[in-house]
Subunit: 564 residues, 2 copies
């Protein structure tokens, strides 16, 4: 494959990244045993097969099709080999991994091309119109919503356009705080290039390490620091969208009133309108100081009220986050055993702290850990920390301090590796996230957990469901649920997964929340679109797609089903 | 007419609001004489004619059409009389007023209906589909972009739907900071209802007194306090859009990733997708304290740099605004003569201040007045004022204080009355506003003024052009230009107006700015849509309109021309 970073085809992240290990985390195995009934000491470990063991469907592209594509992008950048096609055949959802590891391929992409310029993208799309190819844009491949795969019944040639070679920071306007960037750039590469100029985008989704700017825009992403830096829709100030007929060029503007927002039609369009090749993003000076502080609350309800009060206060943290009691217990179970005398003292101190809290009447199984991040001058941060500390205190919480805060900050991208570790042990772990107004959050939380547990009970599985609140807005916040249970081996797990995931999603709808706050729609969340946007709302969107792509060639069936 | 507030048909505002007077403003007449050559002492005053003097085209609606509409909304709420039709035939742009006052009617609406409920709106739209009526939604009628008028060549029956009866605050969720409101509510009525609950929306466009929530959403409005409270697109969290086939219902959400944003398709749609009947807006607790502070800068360039630095600082004023030298001189010319001993002292003091600044080397003809607004606790405001004061000082500016600030705050809605006063004297005054990245603002300003003056010179007119910067964003800000010149009498003024306005608009395009920051598109700004959004961007939007309204009945030709 060309000199473009790819995730391994059987899991999250690059090949060679160390797997998750639990041996140095004494609380982990007992936690997993107690909560999902998985005994790590005896569990069968099913490692992914070798690619050669799998039966990869042959490409449907003719030699002439491939030659025509190669004539545009160059021979080295039009691939039909199994590895290239399997790396690109799906995203990295648990569904995708279960199927991939089982060799349960349906419609694998036929050709992977790596255009080197906007002009090449344009010519690929023009060729696709001419030859009736289906075109799927591909950034880092981290989608967990099923946005990267053709439908099973697709009979046309499917071309995946990997933007990985279009990965340059083109231009920076420091005075305006704007950077013009090619869409295929990966999160770390973008931040490195900006850091070198004393700048940051501040957009840090969980997938940051492996996802691209274009992917963030196409899926309407939001990063964990959105309280300060905004959702991707707030960050994008201009863009290029390549269409078969030409390029949509939106000038770089802080705001505009040019009718319905074409920018906001393209954000979240998941390839249905064309391929995003260039984005102008809002960038900020690197803060003088960054601090993450941890807090502990006696209950979830108290913590939620505190998060709400912070959002109404004169402090504006970069993020506020609180885990529910289950997620808090899980987090504590992943702490490493202390290896140095200092760490041993800290660990001992922590146990004594819990004892003390119990003496004060806390149920330490109900307590909830929270993190707030502060950026700015030391004086600014100190002031904000004081405001937050007072609020935390008013809601019965305590300050744990910067130590656990810094540890959270280091580990923030690690959950998907645990997901894959569990999958190696036939344990399905996945996420469902939503947003709702403040006044509905407690109910959304209660109902989603109840719905998940009811579905697990129906399956006769012992399951675990945890949640955190993050991404504060004036009007509400995001709730992010993670669930896990020991599933059947192989693709038998899929229907079990569907039962739990669907139950959670439907509970979001029933309690007035949305189908996804920042994971997009793909095909995974498509069934809830009419409930979320109303039939008439979906009809407006379907009309946009139909008028923009009457031939249904642009990543068809994502977000909404394409007409046949 | 029903018990709904209407502006007078010949000008801005309600009948009976006192006209603008200059006799108590000693600087005004000399300023006008010097800058546009209009001698107020001798100028012919052309008062608007009586409605009975004008030849209003007859309605094209049949008796049966009117009866069918009346069967839905009630007899008292389906009107075809001249006054109702002329009040609703246009917005309140200078073009609209010149034509109205000259009796230069083209396609006057045929029937005005006042539905009392969403269901009635729905039935009006269904009837419109059945009978092929054109439907134009109408809020407060303050549009200055030509969004409320059928095209001259329209042969179908035109029905204007005045939302004035749908004007209730329906529900408030104080914890979430959300209020559900009917779209026809006027700015002051909405704020009064919120104030009674200790809340505010904080959305204050120049048209606030006479414009409606639905109008703000339909035209993608932004208020002068958007730095804190957001553009209307930030404020709207849920809405109802009635379409001929049903209602788009978007649930109340802080954020969501449900594909391309249907919410953002409806915002700015100016009636092309249906009629907005209900909006859930973000509301805030009334601030403990509100203060507007005035500053003076030696030059425009210094002031712009200071505004930029404030936008990058740890202070977050509710608004920052700076007038260029011309607008500053104009503002000073509208000061009232002091009538009390205290005011005389203040006025004397101000003259001495200018003397002092001249001694310090200022050219007081180049100085620029600025205002910043602070809201919050006294401590918070004091801290922010300190931050701003230091920045102002670094850029050579001085603090004028809260007195002139409070005066600005009182007069902020008055400019349109001056516009009408001048129009009575054959003087055309109008505005053109835009937004651009910080690094382009100085150039946009220079080029727009040069373009306007070149156009005026071409016309052989002595004209005046002034500007202020407002609506700060991280990436840029809005520039708001006002121009005036003595024009030909009657509708002869229109082509002169067009020449100047077009020159300014085109200069926006040429310097990378947008065609409008918050006045919308209508038909007035339509000619620049392709330059702003690119041909392909316009094609996407046109596709949305065509798919949503294949019969071209929903306020056709606004934003983009409708296909024939």
């Amino acid at each position: 494959m060309p000199d473009v970073k790819h995730q391994k085809w059987w899991g999250w992240g690059y090949d060679g990244i160390p797997d998750f290990h639990y041996e140095n985390k004494p609380g982990f195995a007992p936690f997993v045993l107690a909560n999902i009934g998985l005994d790590l000491a005896t569990a069968k470990v099913v490692r992914p097969p070798a690619l050669s063991e799998l039966n990869v469907p042959a490409t449907k592209a003719s030699v002439d099709d491939v030659a025509a594509l190669a004539a545009i992008v160059g021979d080295a950048f039009a691939l039909t080999d199994d590895e290239a096609r399997i790396v690109h055949w799906a995203g990295r959802s648990v569904r995708d991994l279960i199927r991939t590891r089982a060799g349960n391929f349906s419609r694998v992409t036929d050709v992977v091309v790596y255009p080197g310029s906007e002009d090449e993208v344009q010519r690929v799309l023009a060729l696709a119109s001419e030859r009736d190819f289906v075109v799927i844009p591909f950034g880092g491949g981290t989608s967990i919503s099923g946005s990267l795969q053709a439908e099973d019944h697709e009979t046309r040639v499917v071309v995946t356009v990997d933007l990985g070679r279009m990965n340059r920071l083109l231009d920076v306007d420091t005075h305006s705080g704007l950077a013009r960037v090619q869409a295929g750039i990966l999160g770390p590469d973008l931040e490195d290039a900006l850091t070198a100029r004393g700048l940051t985008m501040g957009h840090v989704p969980d997938s940051f390490t492996y996802s691209t700017l274009g992917g963030w825009v196409a899926t309407r992403s939001s990063g964990m620091q959105s309280d300060k830096y905004g959702d991707i829709a707030d960050i994008v100030k201009g863009l290029h969208l390549v269409r078969p007929s030409g390029v949509v060029t939106l000038r770089d503007l802080p705001s505009t009133s040019t009718g319905p927002s074409v920018r906001e039609m393209i954000i979240g369009s998941e390839g249905r309108l064309g391929i995003i090749t260039e984005v102008t993003i809002q960038v900020h000076k690197l803060p003088a100081k960054r601090e993450v502080v941890a807090y502990m609350f006696p209950t979830w309800e108290a913590g939620l009220l505190a998060m709400h009060e912070i959002s109404r206060s004169e402090a504006h943290p970069v993020f506020t986050r609180i885990s529910d009691a289950d997620e808090t217990r899980f987090s504590l179970s992943t702490l490493k055993a202390p290896t140095t005398p200092l760490k041993k003292v800290a660990s001992f101190g922590q146990e004594r702290l819990w004892d003390y809290l119990r003496l004060r009447g806390w149920d330490t199984n109900a307590m909830c850990i929270s993190y707030c991040c502060f950026e700015g001058s030391a004086k600014h941060n100190d002031r904000e920390k004081d405001v937050v500390k007072a609020i935390v205190g008013r809601h019965g919480g305590i300050v744990l301090g910067g130590g656990p805060g810094a540890m959270y900050d280091q580990k923030k991208f690690d959950t998907p590796y645990i997901r894959d570790f569990l999958l190696d042990r036939n344990t399905v772990g996945d996420v469902s996230e939503t947003a709702a107004p403040w006044s509905k959050l407690a109910e959304v939380h209660r109902k989603a957990k109840a719905a998940a547990h009811a579905a697990l009970e129906q399956l006769g599985r012992k399951g675990f469901v945890m949640c955190h609140m993050s991404h504060s807005y004036h009007a509400g916040a995001c709730l992010y649920f993670t669930f896990a249970f020991v599933a059947d081996e192989g693709i038998g797990a899929l229907s079990q997964y569907d039962a739990v995931k669907s139950a959670i999603q439907q509970s979001f709808m029933d309690s007035g929340a949305t189908l996804s706050h920042h994971h997009g729609v793909g095909v995974e969340h498509r069934p809830w679109m009419e409930q979320d946007l109303s039939e008439e709302g979906v009809a407006l969107m379907a009309g946009l797609f139909a008028s923009a792509d009457p031939g249904n060639r642009l990543n068809p069936d994502k977000v909404l089903p394409s007409p046949r």
